[in-house]
């Protein structure tokens, strides 16, 4: 089995964040991210993709329906994932933090 532990002794963690960038918890999430972690932006958090001040990791993903709702459906196709993709990510990551 591949060793997935990051320097902080936890396996690569899936972070699911639904808060817009101004929300205090958004920054707290950013500070908690480790290099191997995956960040999924959902609901209001997808706005971070358009926010030049939001320091999100380059490999961040965003729920497609939430992007489309906010008029961003065409702009971030590379980062867009489905609910089905989110399920798969939860399969692959035993440690999940819902922010």
């Amino acid at each position: 089995m591949e060793d997935m532990t990051s320097p902080n002794q936890q396996p690569a963690t899936l972070h699911i964040l639904n808060k817009a960038p101004e929300h205090a918890r958004f920054e707290a999430c950013m500070n908690a991210l480790c290099p191997e972690d995956i960040l999924v932006l959902s609901e209001n958090a997808v706005l971070a993709l358009t926010d030049e001040n939001a320091a999100i990791p380059e490999n961040s993903l965003a729920l497609a329906p939430d992007l489309a709702a906010r008029g961003l459906g065409k702009d971030f196709e590379e980062q867009a994932i489905s609910y089905q993709d989110l399920v798969r990510l939860t399969e692959e990551h035993p440690r999940i933090i819902s922010w």
Partner: protein, 116 residues
């Protein structure tokens, strides 16, 4: 498997902190390892001499002080937030430990949970 419950919302203005405390005490009641981390505005739950009678609420001070007796392993407070809100050992309830690196604290628990 240890669970860290995080309280980042200010006291009395919303019920979130109480719901977090209830979750923590429930874990402890079932002998599940649980710790509580207060951060951001949430550190104000730890201030001494809370007197919420005139706003029609009950103080959580006693519940928090009793948490270790019920088996809650640690009550932690983010040092940066404490400094921001003028909280020191003198005006904080006893039994709290400061943490300077909340990210490391999060990463030392298998589960990290917010009540809302």
């Amino acid at each position: 498997m240890s669970t860290l419950i995080v309280v980042d919302q200010a006291p009395y203005g919303s019920w979130a902190g109480r719901e977090a405390l209830d979750m923590t005490l429930s874990l402890a009641a079932f002998d599940q390892p649980a710790a509580l981390l207060f951060t951001g505005a949430g550190v104000n739950w730890l201030r001494k001499h809370q007197a919420p009678e005139d706003i029609g609420q009950k103080s959580v001070e006693k519940n928090l002080a009793a948490a270790p007796i019920f088996g809650v392993e640690e009550i932690l407070a983010d040092a940066t937030a404490c400094q921001r809100y003028g909280l020191t050992e003198d005006n904080m309830i006893a039994g709290t430990s400061m943490v300077t690196d909340t990210s490391a604290t999060l990463n030392s628990h298998q589960q990290v949970v917010f009540a809302g």
